[in-house]
Structures are given as C-alpha cells and as structure tokens.
Amino acid sequence: MDWTALGLSLQLGLATVALLLPIAFLLARWLAFSRFRGRGFLEALVALPLILPPTVVGFYLLLAFGRGSPIGAGFESLFGHPLVFSFEGLVLASLIVNLPFAVQPMQNALAAIPPSVRDAARCCGLSPLAAVRRIELPLALPGIATAAVLTFAHTLGEFGVVLMVGGSIPGETRTIAIAIYDRVQAFDESSAGAMALVLLVLAVVALGLSNTLARRAGRQD
C-alpha cells in the first residue's frame, strides 16, 4: 500500500475541486444564461475531454506545458522548475481534463432556474452579486455538489493524462492510479488489490454522497 501516492491523489483531488469549482461556476453561468455567437462551439470545447482519449489530451498538454511553449517557459522563469513532471503541472492538467465534469452539472442546474425567478430576484432589490449568492447558488446546489463529487472522483482515477504530463515521480506525480499500475507491473498483486479497493470504496461513497445531496437539495418543501 503506497500511502504517499494515496495522499498525493487526495491532495490533487482537493486542489482540483477547490480551484475548478469557482472557475467552472462562472463558465457554467455564462453558458446557461447568455446568448452569444460561438456558444455552441464553446460548449463543444468544454466537452472535448469527455470524448478524446486521455493519452491524446495528455500529449497535447505535454506539448503546451513543455519548455518550448510560452506556458512552460513562463512557468519555469517564475518558479524555477519545469511545469511538466511537477505537481503544479498535474493540477493544471487536472483542471482542464475535469472541465466538463464540473461545468455540465452546474450549467444544467442553473439553466433549470426559471428566468422569471432570476428577474424576481432583481425586482426584490438584490444586486446581481446578491442574486447569485441568495438565489442562484442555493438553487444550483445539487448541481454544484454533483460537480464537486464527479471532479474529485474522476481526478482520483485519472491515469492516462497523469502519466503523460506527470510521469511517475514518487511524492510529486505518482498518484494512486499510477501506483496501482506500477505494482501490477511488479507482480505485487496484493498491494495493487488493496489500493484498487480503496479507489472502489471512494468511488461508491462519492456517488452515494452525490445522490443523497442532490435528493436532499431537490426536496423544497
């Protein structure tokens, strides 16, 4: 059992959820409420990580984060170490890969709020920011919970992208999913089995939690 890998995975999952939810909420809100040219294209772009093979996504991220790219070069001049094969690089990759898992549930939840309810919030004297806080956030809560659970669970299980962008550096980029693969390669089936079971339990708990939250928030009376 690779406790370091498990810890790293949990850290990556929490960092991804914490950073991604606010960004994805704004993007979801924009997609749900605004009518603009290119909206369909943007929605397709957000959904892209769902259908592309992780190795393909990982390959392009590797190119984008590499020393030869402006992003990679900029990061290295700021922080003194390369973005690829680092924990920061993993987080950034994880944010991009999880975009559809975070955006889509929140977008659906926001789009389900009747336009008249949002108008009513403004007629009650709520500023746009207050309307988000008092009306939109609470009403979108089931979607936000689903987004958080899906993002966290998916981050724990992500393999291809992590391997491409992060490699398998212990304590830095070797997540639990990578560690399982590593143990199987070394014919250490009991360790692999234990870690796989941990992921399985986490996934079941996450889904159960998501369903319960959604049901509780859906009960309005």
Binding site: S116, V117, A120, R122, C123, C124, G125, Q220, D221
Partner: protein, 364 residues
C-alpha cells in the same frame, strides 16, 4: 391625477418586434394594459421595471427618472422601487414566505423587518403560513405570497403581469376583490397587464389598449366603455359600460342598496359595504330598456331620465346601440331598430331608461 405621483412611460424599439408606446398611469389608481397576446404589453411592463432594454424611451415615476435613453439614464432593476408580480409568481422555491419577504426588505433597517413581515402576512391573509415554502402553498396562497413580496419593496408602482391567469374562476373573483381593497387602502399606483376584459371592467380606472406594439386607445375605463370604443373588445363583448359609483344609502328593510354613479341613481340588491364606499358597476346595454313615458305596474326599481346622444348600428343588423347621457354620465342601451324608429330616437330625444335592479352587476 396628483402631479408627480404617477408613472410616465414612453418606449420605442425596432427589434425583435416593433414597439412604440406612450402613456401615463395616474398615481394611486389602477391602470390596465389590455391587449391580445403578442401585443407587447408584458414587454412594456418589463421595460418599466428595467428588465428589458429599449432602443429609445423614458420612464419616470413619482418625479424620479428611471430610464432616459437621451440623457443616458438607465437605473438597474434593483435600484427601482417596483413591485413585480409575475404571471407564474416566480417565488423562490428554496425560501419560506418569511424569507422571501425579508429578502425584499433590504431597503429597510434590519430591526424593522420582522414587524414589517408580520404586517405584510396579515395584509395578504397568510399569517401562520410564513414558515412554508412555496411548494406547500395552494395556488391562491402563492399568488398572495407573490403580492406580499412585491409590496415588501414599498414600491412606487406595483406591476402585475396577468396576476389572475393561473387561478380558477371562483378564486379569481375573490383575489380581484382583495387586490382592489389593498390598492384602495394603500393608495397604490398599479399597472395591470391583462388580456381578460373582466379584469379591466372590475379593477381598472384607466385603460391603455395595445395592439401589435402600439396604443390604439387610452383613457378612463368609464369613458371608453361608455363610447363602446375599446378596440379588441368591440365585436365579441356585449356592449356594457363600467362605472365608478359610491354607496349612497342602505335600505335594509327593502334589502336594497342605493348607489350613485355621476348622474345615475340606481337601486340594486343589497351590497355588503359601508355608505360612501366605492363600488364598480357594469351595466350591459341589452339590460337597459327605453321608454317615452313612465311605466306603471312593473317590477322595476330604476327609471332614469336621460337623453339620446347618438343612435348607431349594432353588431346585429336588426339592432341599434343607443348612446345615452344622464347628468354627466354616459351609458348604452341596445334596442331593436324597430323600437328605435317607433320611439323616434335621435340625438337630443329625452327618454326614460329602465333598469332592473338585478341587471346591475356590482363589484365592491
């Protein structure tokens, strides 16, 4: 109309559909925006609230300018003191009635809010239901909660979008009564959007008729109905005049109430209201009989001395619509062309208008 308390509206847009509207809603009264669906009346209401941008326009209420595209003024909705009751009520599903009212009281000091909420709940008869969420309220209760939330804003103008469309007929009538009572006791300025002329005839004192984005008639409900000149209604609605009257006397021994509307004095079956109370009456043209001499031996309470203003063709070729005046009050009578001939009706002819007590529809 008191100067400076009403609402002045002038709006114009080219897309998505043409709209060119100007009207005034007097302070302390109910103005109806009446028209078929697609005539732009809801758009006008939304523009007043600042929910709908306009190409050009000016909206001023109680002396304050909310929109003036020429001067570059466009107050955001949350800074306009409007109370908006949406057609679907638009209650917040996650908040109790009390919480919804509290949300609308942001402009009042925190300490005042609980008492104000209690007052509003009493006002709309929802005391005891304040801790319920909308899903646990009936349709009529939801409508009253939406009304209370709009009133919580202390609005300079109350905007109602088809407020009775979602409730059944019986409930509609009692909600109308409550609205009228509330409007009178608080002297509210109200703009009411409706496609149901019953709302206009029973509630509104002023009427703006919208058709395809333009105003095709405007004025007092009394004047427009007396001239049988409400576009979109003439043709399918029986000619009937809506009059503002007052209770003049209660004759409880005879189970009658005497009401006076301008030059008309009418005895009608008892209306439960105090002497002096306002009452809206509707008098259908087909219920008004014309005579040249005072009749005897009839079960008749109301004989009104009037004179003919005009005789015009009615929807049916064998009928004539007679425009009448008693004192300064105008009303209508529908008679056969044959009767109009034999009575020699022409402008200026003095006639007696006979009205059965039960033919007067009173709304108090």
């Amino acid at each position: 109309m008191e100067p400076g308390t009403g609402l002045q509206v002038r709006l114009r847009q080219a897309t998505p559909f043409a709209l060119d509207v100007a009207f005034e809603a007097p302070g302390g009264e109910i103005t109806a925006l009446f028209g078929p669906s697609g005539s732009g009346k809801t758009t006008v209401l939304r523009a007043i609230a600042g929910l709908q941008p306009m190409d050009t326009g000016r909206v001023a209420c109680a002396g304050e300018v909310w929109t003036d595209t020429v001067a570059g003024i466009r107050a955001p909705t949350h800074r306009r003191p409007v109370g908006f009751v949406f057609q679907d009520y638009a209650l917040f599903p996650h908040l109790t009635v009390r919480e919804q009212l509290a949300l609308s009281l942001g402009h009042r000091p925190t300490g005042e809010r609980p008492a104000r909420i209690d007052g509003l709940l009493d006002l709309v008869r929802l005391r005891g239901l304040g801790d319920r969420r909308p899903a646990a309220l009936s349709g009529g209760q939801q409508q009253r909660a939406a009304l209370a939330r709009a009133l919580a804003r202390d609005p300079a103008v109350l905007l109602l979008d088809e407020p009775f469309a979602a409730v059944d007929w019986a409930l509609r009538e009692s909600l109308r009564r409550e609205l009228v009572a509330l409007q009178r006791s608080l002297s509210l300025t109200v703009v009411l959007v409706t496609h149901d002329f019953e709302d206009v005839a029973k509630l509104a004192s002023h009427l703006v008729v919208l058709e395809r984005g333009t105003v095709t008639a405007s004025g007092t409900v009394e004047a427009l109905t007396a001239r049988n000149a409400v576009p979109g209604v003439t043709g399918w609605r029986e000619p009937a005049v809506a009059l503002d009257a007052r209770i003049a006397a209660q004759e409880s021994a005879r189970q009658l109430t005497v009401i006076v509307a301008g030059g008309l004095r009418l005895e009608v079956p008892t209306i439960e209201a105090a002497v002096g109370a306002p009452v809206r009456i509707q008098l259908a043209a087909r219920e008004v009989i014309l005579a040249s001499r005072r009749p005897e031996g009839l079960s008749l309470h109301n004989v009104i001395e009037a004179h003919v203003l005009a005789v015009e063709p009615a929807a049916h070729p064998a009928l004539r619509l007679v425009h009448l005046q008693a004192g300064d009050t105008r009303f209508l009578s529908l008679v056969t062309a044959d009767a109009a001939r034999s009575l020699g009706l022409s402008p200026g002819t003095p006639v007696l208008a006979l009205v059965k007590a039960v033919a007067v529809e009173a709304f108090a």
